[in-house]
C-alpha cells in the first residue's frame, strides 16, 4: 500500500457501489486483503503504508487494530449486501503489511473468523499471512494454523548480512530456515520473498541469497527488483551519494540468474516476480489480482476492487479508525473504471502471468503488435500459435515495453 495514493473521485460515506458493479459478479471470485500497518522498524527502502509507532491517540493503535478491522469487515459485508447481494464466499484471504505478525496471533485469528462468519469461505481456500522471520514464534504459527491459515510468506529479502543492513532489515538470516521448517511441520504452505539489486549488491551476493532461498525448500519464492521509491530513506541516501544504485543491466543479469537457478531447482515462474513448485503452490490470492477478480481491502490505506470500482482507504490509522467508529466508509477516494481503463488493466495484468493473455482479448492493433514482439523474441512462438501471449525470459524483463506495444492504438 503505497503512500503515494492515486487521485480519484470522492468516495460516498455509505460506501455503496454503483448498480453496474454487480454485473457478472457470480463469474468473479471475492478475496479479502487485510493490511496491518505496523512494524517494529521502518525499513529504509519501504514505501508501504506502515508505522513503527505503537499507539496514536484516541485509543487507536496496534492493539486496537483488530477491533477496527472487524468494524470494517462488518461495514463491508453490509455494503456488499446493500449493493445488490455482492457477498460471496471468500476465495482467498491475505494478511499483509507492515508486519501482520506484530499483532497478537489471536487478533489475526479473530479477524479471519469474522470474515468467514460474514462472507463464508470456499472449500480449500488459501489463507496467507506475511511474517517476519525474526519475531514470529512456533506458537504463533500454530495458533494461526488452527484458526484456518494455510500459508505463510516470510520476508527473507537476502541471505547476506551486508545487503540486509543496506535494506535496514534487522533479522538474522539464520532464522529463516528455522521458521520455514516450523511452518512446514505445521502443514502450512511456505513462501519466501527476496529483494534483488539492493544498492551495492553484487551478482555473487545475489546468487548466495537465491541459493539459500532454494536451500530452505519453500513451496514458493518471490523475487523483486528493488525499486527506490521517492521519499524513502534509501532514496535520500542515494541522493546523498551514500549508496550507489544497481544499474538496470545488472538487475537484468540478476533476474536471469535467479530464473535459471529457480528453474534448475524445480521452481517455475508463473508471474514476472513469482516462482512456485507447481500450479497448486502458486499464490492464488495474487493471481486474483492479476486476473482482475474482486477483493475487499481492510485496513488503513488498503485498496479494494469490486466490479469495476477501485477505492482506497485513508492512509493514517487514526482517521481511518475514527471514520469506522462513526459508521462512515473509511475510503479516501475511488475510481470507476471505464471500458477503456478496464481494457488497459486487463492487458497490463494479464501479460504478467505465465498462463498467458488470450490473443482474442486484444484489439486489432495489439494483435498486430504480436508479430513484432515475436520477431523481437519477447513472446513465445508456441503459445502464440495456441492463441496466447506469453512472455519469454527477455520479454519478462521488458514486460512494460511489451504491454505498451500490446496497448498501441
Amino acid at each position: 500500500m503505497s503512500p503515494a495514493q492515486p487521485t480519484g473521485d470522492p468516495a460516498p460515506a455509505d460506501g455503496l457501489l454503483p448498480a453496474g458493479a454487480g454485473a457478472e459478479a457470480a463469474a468473479r471470485t471475492l478475496s479479502l486483503y487485510v493490511h496491518v500497518p505496523y512494524c517494529t522498524v521502518r525499513c529504509g527502502y519501504c514505501d508501504f503504508n506502515t508505522y513503527a509507532a505503537e499507539e496514536f491517540s484516541d485509543g487507536v493503535g496496534r492493539l486496537t487494530y483488530a477491533d477496527d478491522a472487524v468494524r470494517e469487515l462488518r461495514f463491508a459485508a453490509e455494503v456488499m449486501e446493500r449493493s445488490g447481494g455482492l457477498g460471496r464466499p471468500l476465495h482467498t484471504v491475505f494478511f499483509g503489511g507492515g508486519t501482520p505478525t506484530r499483532l497478537p496471533a489471536e487478533d489475526l485469528a479473530r479477524i479471519l473468523r469474522t470474515g468467514v462468519e460474514l462472507f463464508g469461505i470456499e472449500d480449500g481456500a488459501e489463507v496467507t499471512t506475511e511474517a517476519n522471520p525474526d519475531s514470529v514464534t512456533r506458537e504463533d504459527l500454530e495458533t494461526l494454523r488452527d484458526a484456518g491459515f494455510t500459508r505463510v510468506s516470510f520476508g527473507m529479502q537476502s541471505a547476506v548480512p551486508r545487503v540486509l543492513e543496506v535494506l535496514d532489515r534487522t533479522h538474522t538470516p539464520a532464522n529463516v530456515p528455522k521458521v520455514v521448517d516450523w511452518a512446514k511441520e505445521l502443514g502450512l504452505q511456505t513462501s519466501v520473498d527476496l529483494i534483488c539489486g539492493a544498492p551495492g549488491e553484487t551478482l555473487e551476493e545475489w546468487e548466495t541469497s537465491v541459493r539459500a532461498a532454494i536451500g530452505y525448500a519453500p513451496d514458493h519464492i518471490s523475487a523483486y527488483s528493488l525499486i527506490v521509491e521517492p521519499g524513502t530513506k534509501l532514496a535520500a541516501q542515494i541522493a546523498r551519494g551514500e549508496h550507489v544504485p544497481v544499474d538496470d543491466d545488472t538487475q537484468a543479469d540478476m533476474y536471469q540468474l535467479a530464473d535459471e537457478l529457480f528453474a534448475g531447482a524445480g521452481y517455475h515462474w508463473y508471474e514476472i516476480s513469482n516462482w512456485s513448485t507447481g500450479p497448486a503452490t502458486r499464490s492464488r490470492h495474487n493471481l486474483a489480482y492479476w486476473r482482475n477478480q474482486d477483493w475487499w481491502g481492510i485496513g488503513p490505506g488498503a485498496h479494494s476492487h469490486v466490479g469495476g470500482v477501485r477505492w482506497w482507504n485513508l492512509k493514517h490509522p487514526l482517521p481511518y479508525a475514527n471514520r469506522l467508529r462513526e459508521g462512515v466508509s473509511p475510503a479516501a477516494a475511488r475510481e470507476h473504471l471505464e471500458a477503456e481503463t478496464r481494457y488497459t488493466e486487463e492487458i497490463m495484468l494479464g501479460a504478467r502471468i505465465a498462463d498467458g493473455l488470450p490473443v482474442e482479448r486484444l484489439r486489432p492493433a495489439g494483435r498486430e503488435a504480436t508479430g513484432w514482439l515475436l520477431g523481437q523474441g519477447l513472446i513465445e512462438a508456441g503459445e502464440l500459435e495456441r492463441g496466447l501471449v506469453r512472455l519469454t525470459l527477455r520479454g519478462r524483463l521488458l514486460g512494460d515495453a511489451v504491454v505498451r506495444e500490446l496497448l498501441a492504438d
Binding site: H305, T344, R396, L397, D400, R404
Partner: protein, 618 residues
C-alpha cells in the same frame, strides 16, 4: 551654445540649398543610437523629457541586441549663421546581412558620419560600409565617439581614421554621445561640409525607397528620398519596378513622430502611406514616380532581395504549425527578404524551409517568431544554395540537403564570400588557422595601424554560416571583427552526409559538407545521438553515410530491463496511470522506423552547436 533653429524650414517648400541628408556608419556597439538621440535633443526635436534612450530603435529585439535592423529618417532643424537648415538623419542597419539596405540608405544621402568608438577603433563591417559610402561619392565626416571613456585613445584612432579617408587627424571630430560633448560642433560640420542635394524640380517625380515598414494600423509606411520633382497628397503614384499604382493617402516627415505635409520636394526625405499591406508592394530600392506623368528612367540600383542561407523551421508542438504559418505570413508583410515554403520532415513533422539574408536575419526572425507568437521552434542547421550538375547533364539548384540528388554528380558549385577580418596583430595566427580550417584562401593582409591588421580571405559561404563568427570571436578574445560579401561561386568537392538510425535516414540531420569534413561531421553526430537517444528494446546502430558508404558508426545498446517487478492490488491504479503516461509520452516520440526518438533528442542534437558556442563565450 549654438542656437536651435528659431523657425524650422517648412517641408514641401524647402530649398535644396538648406537641406542636408546624412547617415551614420558605425559598428554595432559604437554608440550610434546614443549619438543620434543626442542630436535629436540638441536640435530640439526631442525635449529631454521626451527623450528615451535610443529613440530610433523601435523594436525590442533591436534594443536588446543594441543594433538597428531597419533604418528610419528624422528631420531636424539646425541654424548656422542665421540660416535655418533642415537635416535629415537616415538611420542605417549595422549588420552585414543587410548590406543591400545599407547601400540604399547611403544612396539617399550626400554625406555620412563615420562613427568609431575611440576605445576600439574601426571594425571590419564599418570599413566595408565606409568603402561603400566612398564608392557612392558621399562626403565623409570622421567622428570618434565615447571620448569620455577612460580607455579612449583618440590620438591613435584619429590617425587610423585619417589614414583611411585621407584627411588630417585634426579634422577628426571628437564627441561623446553620452555627455553631449562635441555634438553641436558636429551638427555645424554637417551643415558646412555636406553638399546640398541636387535634383530637377520641374522634372517628372522620382523618389527612391530606402525603407519600407509594415505598421499594423497604417499599413506599409514607405520611406523615400525625393530626387526630382514633387510628391503631393492624393497623387497617383507608380512603382517603377512593377508598374503597380497606388494613391498617396498621406505624405510627410518624421520629426520625431510622423507629421503629414503638403508634399515632399527635391532632396527631401520623408514617408508615404498608400494603404498597401505588404512591404513587397513597396520595395526597398524601387523608384516611385507619378502614375500619370512617369519618369522615363528609374533611379537604378534596385535589386530583389536574395536569400543566401536556408534553414528548416519546425514547431516543437506539431499542432502549432498553423500558428507558425500565420506568423511567417505576418512577418513577411514587414520583411521583403523573407521567403519560405512548406517543408515536411519525417523526423520533425510539418514546418517551413525558410530563406534568409544571413545568419543574423535568421536569428532575428526566429526570435521574433518565438517571442511575438509564443512559438517554440526547432531549426535545422543552416545551409547555402548549391548548383549541381548531374552526370547526365541536368542541372539543379538545391537549398535543402534532402533534395540533394542520389545519382552520380558531375559538378557542384557553392557560393563564395570575400571575407575581411580586422584583428590586433597578435591574433593573426589564430585567424589564419581558423580561416584555413574553413577552406579559406588568403587574398591579402594590410596593417591599418601598427598593431591592427586587415586580413582578406575568399571562403565558401557555407563555412561561415554556422559558427564561424563565434569561433573567430573566441579565438581572438572578442577583438576580431568580420565583414563579408558574396564573391561568386566555386566548384567544390562536396558530399551529402546522411545519418541513419537502424538503417533509416533521418532527414533533419542530413548535411552537405566538404568531403574532408564528412567524417568529422558523421562521427560527431553519431556520438551525440548515441548519448541523446534512449536505449530501445533492440540494438540501434547509428551510421553516418555518404550515399551507400558508411563512414562512421555507433551503437545504442538494447535496453534489458523495462518492467516494474511488483504489481499487487494496491499498485494497480498507480501502475496503470504510469502506463497511460508512458503511452502519452510514446505519442510525443518521433518514430524513425521502429526507433522511438524523443523530440528533445532532435532538439539537443541540432542545437548542441549552439551550446558549445555558449560555452566558448564563457
Amino acid at each position: 551654445m549654438a542656437p536651435q533653429a528659431s523657425e524650422a524650414p517648412r517641408p514641401a517648400a524647402t530649398d535644396p540649398s538648406i537641406l542636408r541628408n546624412f547617415c551614420i556608419i558605425a559598428h554595432i556597439d559604437h554608440g550610434k543610437s546614443t549619438l543620434a538621440d543626442r542630436m535629436l535633443q540638441a536640435t530640439g526635436v526631442l525635449t529631454p523629457r521626451e527623450m528615451k534612450n535610443q529613440y530610433l530603435d523601435r523594436m525590442d529585439i533591436e534594443r536588446e541586441r543594441g543594433i538597428t535592423i531597419k533604418s528610419q529618417a528624422v528631420r531636424m532643424p539646425w541654424e548656422v549663421e542665421g540660416t535655418a537648415y533642415a537635416l535629415n538623419m537616415i538611420d542605417t542597419p549595422g549588420h552585414v546581412d543587410f548590406t543591400y539596405e545599407v547601400s540604399r540608405s547611403l544612396a539617399a544621402c550626400e554625406g555620412a558620419l563615420l562613427l568609431v568608438d575611440a576605445a576600439q577603433g574601426i571594425e571590419a563591417q564599418t570599413l566595408a560600409n565606409l568603402y561603400l559610402a566612398m564608392e557612392n561619392d558621399l562626403t565623409i565626416i570622421p567622428v570618434l565617439n565615447k571620448i569620455d571613456l577612460p580607455a579612449a585613445q583618440p590620438e591613435k584612432y584619429a590617425e587610423e581614421l585619417a589614414n583611411l579617408i585621407g584627411v588630417d587627424p585634426e579634422d577628426v571630430l571628437r564627441v561623446s554621445g553620452k555627455t553631449g560633448e562635441g555634438v553641436e560642433e558636429l551638427l555645424d560640420r554637417i551643415v558646412r561640409d555636406l553638399p546640398e542635394p541636387q535634383g530637377m524640380a520641374d522634372a517628372e517625380p522620382r523618389a527612391m525607397i530606402f525603407d519600407s515598414v509594415y505598421d499594423s494600423y497604417r499599413g506599409v509606411v514607405t520611406y523615400v528620398r525625393v530626387v526630382d520633382g514633387m510628391l503631393r497628397p492624393r497623387q497617383k503614384i507608380a512603382m517603377m519596378s512593377t508598374g503597380a499604382e497606388h494613391e498617396l493617402l498621406e505624405i510627410g516627415v518624421i520629426s520625431p513622430e510622423p507629421k503629414p505635409t503638403e508634399g515632399l520636394g527635391v532632396g527631401e526625405v520623408g514617408y508615404l502611406i498608400t494603404g498597401v499591406k505588404d512591404v513587397r508592394q513597396s520595395r526597398v530600392g524601387d523608384t516611385v514616380t507619378d502614375a500619370k506623368r512617369p519618369a522615363p528612367e528609374n533611379l537604378g540600383g534596385y535589386e530583389d532581395p536574395k536569400p543566401m542561407v536556408f534553414s528548416g523551421l519546425f514547431p516543437i508542438d506539431g499542432s502549432d504549425y498553423p500558428i507558425l504559418r500565420d506568423a511567417l505570413d505576418k512577418l513577411k508583410l514587414n520583411d521583403a527578404a523573407l521567403v519560405y515554403e512548406p517543408e515536411t520532415s519525417a523526423a520533425l513533422g510539418f514546418g517551413f524551409r525558410v530563406g534568409f539574408l544571413g545568419l543574423l536575419h535568421l536569428e532575428i526572425v526566429r526570435e521574433r517568431l518565438e517571442r511575438e507568437f509564443n512559438l517554440e521552434l526547432i531549426s535545422t542547421a543552416p545551409n547555402v544554395i548549391y548548383d549541381i550538375v548531374a552526370e547526365d547533364g541536368t542541372s539543379m539548384r538545391v537549398t535543402n540537403p534532402s533534395e540533394f540528388p542520389e545519382g552520380k554528380i558531375s559538378t557542384i558549385e557553392e557560393p563564395m564570400v570575400a571575407c575581411t577580418v580586422i584583428v590586433p596583430s597578435e591574433f593573426i595566427g589564430a585567424v589564419m588557422d581558423l580561416c584555413q580550417s574553413r577552406r579559406g584562401q588568403m587574398g591579402g593582409m594590410d596593417y591599418l595601424s601598427q598593431d591592427r591588421v586587415e586580413l582578406r580571405y575568399r571562403m565558401p559561404l557555407a563555412e561561415i554560416v554556422f559558427d564561424f563568427f563565434d569561433q573567430l570571436k573566441s579565438r581572438t578574445r572578442g577583438y576580431a571583427s568580420l565583414d563579408w560579401k558574396l564573391d561568386g561561386a566555386q566548384e567544390s568537392d562536396l558530399v551529402k552526409v546522411d545519418i541513419l538510425l537502424q538503417g533509416e535516414r533521418v532527414d533533419a540531420f542530413s548535411a552537405v559538407t566538404h568531403r574532408d569534413n564528412a567524417y568529422s561531421y558523421g562521427t560527431t553526430m553519431a556520438t551525440r545521438l548515441r548519448e541523446l537517444i534512449p536505449r530501445q528494446q533492440f540494438e540501434v546502430p547509428i551510421q553516418a553515410a555518404i550515399g551507400s558508404r558508411i563512414i562512421a558508426r555507433e551503437n545504442i545498446r538494447a535496453i534489458r530491463k523495462d518492467v516494474l517487478s511488483k504489481c499487487y492490488g494496491g499498485d494497480i491504479s498507480r501502475k496503470r496511470k504510469l502506463l497511460e503516461k508512458q503511452k502519452e509520452g510514446k505519442k510525443r516520440m518521433k518514430m524513425v522506423g521502429r526507433v522511438e526518438v524523443p523530440q528533445e533528442a532532435f532538439i539537443a542534437a541540432l542545437s548542441s552547436g549552439e551550446e558549445s558556442k555558449d560555452k566558448s563565450k564563457k
